[in-house]
C-alpha cells in the first residue's frame, strides 16, 4: 500500500456531493474525487487542488447520478382507488371519530357559508345598476357648531340646477320625493281598495334611465314623462287590480289626484338602499304646490342622485360646490352649508345621515360577521387537525404495514392528504344540506331573501370548492406529516407511539378556546349593550302611545273635532300631534336668539298642545304651551336643558324669558324648559332642541305628520277601536292606520339586534364545535392512558382522582386560553362600544361568565371520559402486558 501522506480535501464540496449523489454511486465517486485530489496535491498547490476538487464534483452533478425522487410505477389510479377504499373503511370503523370530524367541519363550513351569503348580499347593494359606479347621491351638510343636520336629501332646485350649471360633468339627475310622509293613501275607487302606502315616491322622468329597474309592461322611454302617471310594481298590481290588467287604469292619491297606471315594474330588488312600490311622475307634484315646484333652497326634502360623465371624477365635480352653494343658497345658511357627493354603492354600508330613505346597515357588522365566519371555520379546521392527528395512533399499524410494503413518505402524505380533502368535501356536502335547511330561518333572522340557488352559480361554486380544497389541504397536511413519519419497526412491534406533535395540538386547542371565550364575551357584551339601548330610560313615556299617520290628510280641518271625539273615551287620556316619531327623528330649523348676529340651525320639533303631557316629559322651568295663550304659536318657544346649557344661559329658570327674533323683531320669548329626553335613538347624544307649537291648519301638509294618542287602558284593542271611531266620525273616507311607538322605536336598534342574534347563534355553535374537538381529544388521551389508569386502579386510585388526573391537562389549557382571551376581547369590545354615545361600562362579570362557562363545558366533556375510563376493569387493560 502506498504510504504517502493523506491530504484532506475541503469539506463543503464533499457535502454537496453527498447531498445530491445517489447512494449507489456515492462511494465510488467520492473515492474517485479523493484520489484525484491526492494526485493534484502531490503535484501542485492546495488552492488549485481545491478548485479542481470542486469542479470534479460539479461535473459529477449529472441526471443519472442524482438521487431519484421518482416513483417507478406512474400508474396512480389503482392507488387512488385503494386510498378511497381505505378512507371509506376508516370512516365506518371509527364511527364516533368520523362523526365528530365530519359534523364539526360541516357545522363550521355551514356557518361560514351562511355568513358568506349574508356578507355577499350586503356587498351587492346597488351594484346591479349599469351606471352604479357613476351614480352619486348629493349630501347636504347643514351645520353650525355641531348643531344642525347631515341631510341625505336636497332642496328641490339642487339637482336640475347642478345639471344645467355643469352639463358636461353632470350628465343626468333624478329626484325622489315623498312629502317626507311616512305613508300616502292610494285607492282604486272602482274596486273599492284603499291602503296607506309607505313606499311611494315621486320621481323625475330620468328615473328609469339612471337606475336599472325593469318594466314588465309600459314604455321605458316615456313612462314618467307626463303628469298624473304612476308606475306600480307587480305585487301592487296584484293588490290593487287583482283580476285585471292595471295598464291605463287609475289610482287616486290622498283622495285628491287621479293617476294613470302607465307601467308595471318588477318588484324592487331587495339589495337596493331604497325600496319602492309606486313611482309617480314628478310633474304630478305641480298641482300640490300651486302649479310649480317649490323654489326654496332651504327646505330639502328631495333625495337627489346624479350621474357623472365618463371619466369625470367625484372630486372634480365637488370642487365646484363651494361656488355653487355661494351662488344659489340663501344668505342666512350659505356659511353653514357644504355639499358632497356620496357614491351610490357606499350608501347601504357607510351612510349614517339624517333623513335616509331607509335605515342602512353598518359596515362594522359586516366586519364582525366576517370575522366570526373566519373564526368558526378556523376552529372547525383546528378540530379536524386535532382529531386526525389524535386518530393517527390508531392507524399506526396501517402506516407500518404500508411502509414495510414499500410506501415512500411522499406517498403516505399523499394518501392522508387525499383522505382529508375527501373528508372536507364530504363535510362540504353536508354543510350545503345544513345551509339549505337553515337558510330560510337565517333569512328570517337577518331579514334577507338570499336564495340557495346563488350558491350554485359557477363562480361561487368554484369559490366553495376552492375553500374546501384549501381547508382540506391545510388541515390534512399536518396529520399526514405526523402519520407518515412513524418509525416502521417500532410501529409494527406494537410499541407505544410517542405522540409527537402533542405540543402543537395543545397550542391549537388553546387557540380554539381563546377564540370561543372571546366570542362568548363579545356576545354577552353585545346583548347587554342592546338591552341597555332598548331599556334605558329615554326621558319620555313610549309605552301605550298609538301613533296615527295624518300627513296630507284632511286632518288639519278636523283635528279639534277628532281630539274631542277621541277624548270622550275613558280609555284615551291625552292626544297631541307631532312632526316626527318622538325618539326617532327630528327636523332642523333656523332660530336667532338674543345676542346672536345671525340665525343658526337647531334640531326642531313641531307639535301641538299636550305634547309634554302625552309623552310624560317633565317641565323643568316655566310652562308648557298653553291652549289659552294665542300667541304661543309664534312668540313662544320651549327648549330642552341641553339647549340652555349650550347657550350658556345658566339655570333653566334663568332661560325663561330669553328672547328670540320673530319676523326680524326680538319679540319671541322662551316660555319653558323641558327635561332632556332622547329625541333620536341612543346612538347619538342629546343635542339642543327647540320645541315649536304649530297650530296652523296647513301644518298637516308638512309640519305635523302624526297624531299621538296616549291610551291608559289594559284593553288595547278597545282603545284602538275608539280612536278609529273618532277618526271615522271626522274623515269617513280616509283609511285609518296606526302603530305603537315602542314597537317602532325598537326598530331603531335593528342593526344591533341582528348583530347580537347572529353572534349568539354563532358563538354557541363555535363552543359546540370546539367541544366536539375537545371530546375527541379527551377520547384520545384516555385511550393513550388506559394502561396507566389500569395500573393506578390496581394501586387504589379513586374515581375523583382519575377525574383530576385527566382533566388537569385540558383545564390548564383553558386557563391559558382564558388569560389570552381577556385582553383581546377587552380591547375589541371597548372599540365596538366606543361607537355608541350611550354605552355600558365594561364589567368583570361577562369575562367571568365566559370563562366559567367554557370551563364547565370543557370539564363536563372531559369528565364524561374520565368516568368511562375509571369504570374499565383494570384486568381488561392489563392482561395483555
Amino acid at each position: 500500500m502506498n504510504e504517502s501522506k493523506q491530504y484532506r480535501p475541503p469539506k463543503w464540496p464533499d457535502k454537496l456531493l453527498g447531498w445530491f449523489c445517489h447512494p449507489k454511486h456515492l462511494d465510488i465517486f467520492r473515492g474517485d474525487v479523493y484520489e484525484l485530489y491526492q494526485d493534484r496535491r502531490e503535484n501542485g498547490s492546495k488552492i488549485r487542488a481545491d478548485i479542481g476538487f470542486f469542479f470534479d464534483i460539479l461535473g459529477l452533478c449529472r441526471p443519472f447520478a442524482m438521487k431519484s425522487h421518482k416513483i417507478e410505477n406512474s400508474n396512480n389510479i389503482p392507488m387512488f382507488k385503494n386510498y378511497f377504499k381505505i378512507t371509506y373503511r376508516n370512516l365506518l370503523r371509527q364511527k364516533v371519530y368520523s362523526f365528530l370530524n365530519l359534523s364539526g367541519l360541516a357545522i363550521g363550513l355551514a356557518c361560514s357559508i351562511l355568513i358568506f351569503l349574508y356578507v355577499n348580499d350586503e356587498l351587492s347593494y346597488d351594484r346591479f345598476h349599469e351606471k352604479s359606479d357613476r351614480i352619486y347621491r348629493m349630501v347636504e351638510h347643514f351645520e353650525d357648531e355641531g348643531n344642525g343636520e347631515h341631510s341625505a336629501s336636497q332642496p328641490f332646485p339642487t339637482g336640475p340646477t347642478l345639471q344645467s350649471e355643469y352639463p358636461t360633468e353632470v350628465v343626468q339627475a333624478v329626484r325622489l320625493f315623498n312629502f317626507q310622509s311616512p305613508t300616502l293613501a292610494l285607492s282604486n275607487k272602482e274596486a273599492d281598495k284603499a291602503f296607506n302606502e309607505s313606499r311611494v315616491f315621486f320621481a323625475d322622468s330620468t328615473f328609469l334611465d339612471v337606475f336599472d329597474f325593469n318594466l314588465i309592461s309600459g314604455n321605458q322611454e316615456t313612462a314618467l314623462d307626463n303628469p298624473n302617471s304612476i308606475l306600480i310594481t307587480a305585487s301592487m298590481a296584484r293588490k290593487y287590480f287583482p283580476d285585471e290588467d292595471p295598464m291605463g287604469k287609475f289610482l287616486e292619491l290622498q283622495g285628491r289626484q287621479n293617476l294613470e297606471v302607465v307601467g308595471v315594474l318588477e318588484d324592487s330588488p331587495k339589495n337596493a338602499h331604497f325600496q319602492f312600490d309606486f313611482i309617480i311622475s314628478f310633474s304630478s307634484l305641480k298641482p300640490w304646490f300651486g302649479g310649480g315646484y317649490p323654489g326654496t333652497w332651504y327646505w330639502n326634502p328631495c333625495w337627489t342622485y346624479v350621474v357623472l360623465g365618463d371619466n369625470v371624477s367625484k372630486e372634480q365635480v365637488e370642487s365646484h360646490f363651494p361656488e355653487f352653494v355661494d351662488k344659489f343658497f340663501p344668505g342666512f345658511i350659505k356659511e353653514d352649508v357644504t355639499l358632497e357627493l356620496q357614491p351610490l354603492t357606499d350608501i347601504h354600508l357607510h351612510s349614517k345621515l339624517d333623513y335616509e330613505i331607509e335605515a342602512n346597515n353598518n359596515v362594522e357588522s359586516i366586519y364582525i360577521f366576517s370575522a366570526i365566519a373566519f373564526f368558526v371555520l378556523l376552529i372547525a379546521a383546528i378540530n379536524f387537525i386535532n382529531l386526525s392527528t389524535a386518530r393517527a395512533t390508531k392507524r399506526a399499524r396501517e402506516v407500518g404495514v404500508r411502509k414495510s410494503l414499500g410506501s415512500s413518505k411522499p406517498q403516505l402524505i399523499r394518501q392522508y392528504v387525499f383522505e382529508s380533502v375527501f373528508m372536507t368535501f364530504l363535510s362540504m356536502i353536508f354543510s350545503l344540506i345544513i345551509v339549505a335547511i337553515f337558510l330560510p330561518a337565517f333569512n328570517g333572522l337577518t331579514e334577507k331573501a338570499v336564495s340557495f340557488i346563488l350558491l350554485l352559480e359557477p363562480a361561487r361554486l368554484l369559490t366553495l370548492i376552492g375553500i374546501t380544497l384549501i381547508v382540506g389541504l391545510l388541515s390534512g397536511f399536518y396529520p399526514a406529516f405526523v402519520l407518515s413519519s412513524f418509525n416502521t419497526v417500532s410501529v409494527l412491534k406494537g410499541a407505544h407511539q410517542k405522540t409527537s406533535g402533542l405540543n402543537f395540538r395543545k397550542i391549537l386547542v388553546t387557540i380554539q378556546f381563546a377564540i370561543s371565550i372571546c366570542l362568548i364575551i363579545g356576545t354577552i357584551v353585545a346583548i347587554n349593550q342592546l338591552q341597555f339601548l332598548m331599556n334605558k330610560d329615554v326621558g319620555f313615556d313610549q309605552e301605550n302611545v298609538v301613533m296615527v299617520p295624518v300627513i296630507r290628510s284632511p286632518m288639519g280641518q278636523h283635528y279639534e273635532n277628532f281630539k274631542n271625539a277621541a277624548l270622550q273615551s275613558p280609555r284615551i287620556s291625552s292626544i297631541t300631534a307631532v312632526e316626527e316619531i318622538v325618539g326617532a327623528k327630528h327636523q332642523v330649523g333656523n332660530y336667532q336668539f338674543e345676542g346672536m348676529e345671525q340665525s343658526k340651525p337647531y334640531a326642531r320639533f313641531n307639535m301641538r298642545h299636550d305634547f309634554a303631557k302625552t309623552f310624560d316629559i317633565p317641565i323643568v322651568a316655566g310652562r308648557a304651551y298653553d291652549i289659552n295663550v294665542q300667541t304661543d304659536d309664534s312668540l313662544a318657544l320651549v327648549v330642552n336643558e341641553t339647549f340652555v346649557k349650550s347657550m350658556n344661559w345658566g339655570s333653566a329658570e334663568q332661560a325663561i324669558g330669553k328672547r328670540f327674533y320673530f319676523r326680524s323683531e326680538l319679540r319671541g320669548k322662551v316660555v319653558g324648559v323641558v327635561k332632556d329626553y332622547n329625541f333620536v335613538s341612543k346612538h347619538r347624544p342629546i343635542a339642543p332642541l327647540v320645541l315649536t307649537l304649530n297650530t296652523r291648519r296647513g301644518a298637516f301638509n308638512l309640519f305635523i305628520k302624526y297624531v299621538a294618542v296616549k291610551i291608559n287602558s289594559q284593553d288595547v284593542e278597545a282603545s284602538i277601536l275608539d280612536i278609529e271611531n273618532a277618526w271615522k266620525s271626522v274623515m269617513p273616507s280616509m283609511p285609518f292606520d296606526y302603530f305603537f311607538l315602542d314597537d317602532r322605536l325598537n326598530d331603531s336598534y335593528k342593526v344591533e339586534r341582528k348583530l347580537s342574534n347572529v353572534t349568539i347563534i354563532f358563538s354557541v355553535l363555535t363552543i359546540l364545535v370546539a367541544c366536539l374537538g375537545l371530546f375527541g381529544l379527551a377520547t384520545f388521551s384516555v385511550e393513550q392512558r388506559t394502561k396507566e389508569i389500569g395500573v393506578r386502579k390496581v394501586l387504589g386510585i379513586s374515581t375523583s382522582q382519575i377525574l383530576v388526573l385527566l382533566s388537569k391537562e385540558f383545564l390548564f389549557l383553558i386557563l391559558i386560553a382564558f388569560v389570552v382571551a381577556i385582553p383581546v376581547s377587552y380591547l375589541l369590545t371597548k372599540e365596538w362600544l366606543n361607537g355608541f354615545s350611550y354605552r355600558i361600562g365594561i364589567e368583570m362579570w361577562p369575562f367571568m361568565v365566559a370563562g366559567l362557562l367554557t370551563f364547565m363545558v370543557a370539564f363536563l366533556t372531559v369528565a364524561f371520559h374520565s368516568l368511562k375510563a375509571s369504570s374499565i376493569n383494570p384486568v381488561e387493560t392489563l392482561k395483555y402486558e
Binding site: 500500500m1 504517502s4 474517485d32 479523493y34 484520489e35 469542479f55 461535473g59 449529472r62 443519472f64 447520478a65
Partner: protein
C-alpha cells in the same frame, strides 16, 4: 449492417477499457485517454459515459481495490462484454470497409 449506437467518445472509452485489461477504473481510464488523445475529460463526463455504456450492455463492472489514497473506498472496475467487443469489431469493420473504398491518393507503391 446494423447501427451499433456507439458514439465517438464512447468508442474511445470502450477501446481504452479494453486496452487496460484488469486495471480499468475511472482514474486509470482518464489518464490513458489523456495520454492518447491529449484531451482531459472530466470525471463526471467519464462516469456519464460508463453509465451509458453499461446500460447499453457494452460494459460490466465490479467493485474492489480500495486504497488509502481514496480514503479507503473501493474502485469500480470495468470490463468489456462480448457484446461490447462485437460492437467495437463492427465499428472497426465498418470504418475499414468504408476507408478502403476511398480513392487512392497515389503515393503508395
Amino acid at each position: 449492417m446494423k447501427y451499433t449506437q456507439l458514439g465517438e467518445f464512447e468508442e474511445l472509452v470502450l477501446l481504452v477499457i479494453g486496452s487496460l485489461g484488469d486495471n480499468a477504473y475511472s482514474i486509470s481510464i482518464k489518464e490513458e485517454l489523456k495520454r492518447h488523445t491529449k484531451r482531459n475529460p472530466s470525471i463526471g463526463a467519464l462516469h456519464s459515459a460508463f453509465n451509458r455504456l453499461e446500460k447499453k450492455g457494452f460494459l460490466e463492472s465490479y467493485e474492489g481495490g480500495a486504497t488509502n489514497k481514496r480514503g479507503g473506498r473501493s474502485k469500480r472496475f470495468y470490463l468489456i462484454t462480448t457484446y461490447g467487443r462485437k460492437a467495437l469489431d463492427d465499428s472497426f469493420e465498418l470504418r475499414s470497409t468504408l476507408y478502403h473504398s476511398l480513392p487512392q491518393l497515389g503515393l503508395s507503391e
